[in-house]
């Protein structure tokens, strides 16, 4: 598979939040909490993302009761998240010099 390139911020946080199984609304709240309220994702955005991540096999449907579906990150998703984390870390480390100079 070709390298999908850098993740969007929204994708990154959805995958991060789904390291623990959660449903739509819980997921939205969790992302808001993790980011200290900086990232607010609406259901329109989130639903589109979840559909895409499911299709790409990065998350899976963990549980489904009558109305509510719970999602969880897959091994493939975890790997992609880890790679993105390392990429972002490298970026920060590369920029560290700048902070030291200041």
């Amino acid at each position: 598979m070709a390298d999908p390139g850098p993740m969007t911020e929204a994708m990154y946080y959805v995958l991060l939040a789904l390291t623990r199984a959660d449903h739509g609304y819980g997921l939205m709240q969790r992302i808001r909490r993790i980011t200290g309220g900086r990232v607010n994702m609406g259901p329109g955005t989130l639903y589109g993302l979840i559909t895409r991540l499911l299709k790409d096999g990065l998350i899976t449907l963990e549980e489904q009761d009558e109305r509510r579906k719970t999602y969880l990150i897959t091994d493939k998703g975890r790997q992609a998240l880890l790679e993105e984390y390392r990429r972002l870390k490298r970026l920060v480390e590369d920029g560290k010099e700048l902070e030291d100079e200041i």
Binding site: Y25, N40, G42, P43, G44, Y47, G48, R67, K69
Partner: protein, 371 residues
């Protein structure tokens, strides 16, 4: 259950629609259904609900609706591609799209469709309106305008309204798309414009319908009296002797029809006679007394296009000696004439032995008698 109907803003005025429904809920009218022009509200306790709209051409799946509900948004209604949601009271809800750029993607399809439909419709419209020699639409429209003014105006207004609305809609959608794409959040409570043009349009449509009904009601059709009671000429006045009869079973009787329109007074007569020698003659007259004289040329053109036999101008002979008319054209059985404010069509079935010269004289006598 008490219902109320109100005109909602156009589909592409997303923020205005949201604000409109929110205001109505505050006044105790809860949205129940959204139609093409009107929305239906049901009486309820005034409540502080928030409404949001998502543009989506595909039907929402139950799964997606459940997802939205989990997130605090209750699905209310759908009309075309406009999906309306409202927040559940006391539920801390998140905007459907926190990022305007994401929301821009939902508007993108509406934008494309709108431009495509306009781009397809415009050339057709230009072709229809600007190329009358191809479609003969202008004279035909004038004929409709003269004879059925209400109906003609209704069609014209409808056409103009659809075109203007289409263009205005496409521009608005484009502006909305660009503003969202730039990251400008949607204004969910913009000042609502009064739907003046919709009210005006509906009023004009209603007026056209009333006019149409009035015209229909004023049509007066009666058996032809012995002596003419209006502008038409009788066969007897032309010198024919015989008995008024109907040639074939199923033919309309000898009659006179009077019609009114704001553009003209019209008289249509039909007379058929069995001559004393056993031959037949008939005379049909359509007389338009125009209040708008500038239409006479186009009206005559339109009448000639519907001629029974001779539709080519080359089939007609121009008669120059008839007083009171600017143009007189006589064909085999039909004659058309116009003056500044009158257009006449005469159709005659002549006795079999009648010469061409006498036939033309007959037409001249009818026209002179009329003037």
């Amino acid at each position: 259950m008490k219902y109320r109907y109100a005109i909602h803003p156009e589909d592409y005025r997303v923020g205005e629609n949201e604000g409109f429904y929110t205001d109505m809920a505050g006044k105790g009218w809860r949205l129940e259904k959204r139609g093409q022009i009107f929305s239906r509200f049901v009486k309820a306790e005034p409540r502080g609900e928030v409404y949001r709209i998502e543009i989506d051409y595909s039907e929402f799946s139950d799964e997606k609706l459940d997802f939205y509900e989990d997130c605090g948004w209750e699905y209310v209604t759908r009309q075309n591609y406009v999906n309306v949601f409202r927040s559940k009271a006391g539920y801390e809800q998140q905007e459907l799209y926190a990022d305007p750029k994401e929301q821009a993607e939902t508007v993108r399809r509406m934008r494309r469709r709108s431009w495509i439909s306009d781009l397809l419709a415009l050339p057709v419209l230009i072709f229809v309106l600007l190329l009358p020699p191809v479609g003969d639409y202008l004279p035909r429209f004038v004929k409709l305008l003269v004879a059925e003014t209400g109906y003609a105006l209704l069609l014209a207004c409808l056409l103009v309204y659809i075109v203007v609305l289409g263009i205005a809609g496409a521009v608005r959608i484009e502006l909305l798309y660009r503003s969202l794409k730039r990251g400008q959040p949607l204004d969910h409570t913009p000042k609502r414009r009064r739907p003046v043009h919709k009210v005006l349009f509906l009023t004009v449509m209603a007026a056209c319908l009333v006019l149409s009904a009035a015209q229909f009601a004023t049509v007066k059709k009666e058996d032809m009296p012995e002596k003419p009671d209006d502008v038409y000429i009788t066969l007897e006045e032309l010198g024919f002797q015989g008995e008024r009869r109907v040639m074939f079973e199923g033919y309309e009787d000898n009659y006179v029809e009077h019609m009114w329109s704001p553009v003209a007074d019209m008289v249509r007569s039909m007379e058929m006679m069995r001559l004393t020698d056993g031959d037949w003659v008939s005379l049909e007259q359509d007389i338009y007394d125009l209040r708008a004289g500038f239409l006479s040329k186009l009206l005559m053109e339109a009448l000639m296009k519907d001629a029974v036999f001779d539709r080519d101008i080359g089939d007609y002979e121009e008669l120059t000696g008839v007083e009171g008319y600017d143009q007189v054209l006589a064909g085999g059985m039909e004659c058309f004439a116009r003056s500044r404010d009158r257009v006449v069509r005469v159709y005659m079935m002549f006795p079999s032995e009648m010469s061409r010269v006498d036939r033309v004289r007959c037409f001249e006598s009818v026209l002179e008698g009329l003037s």
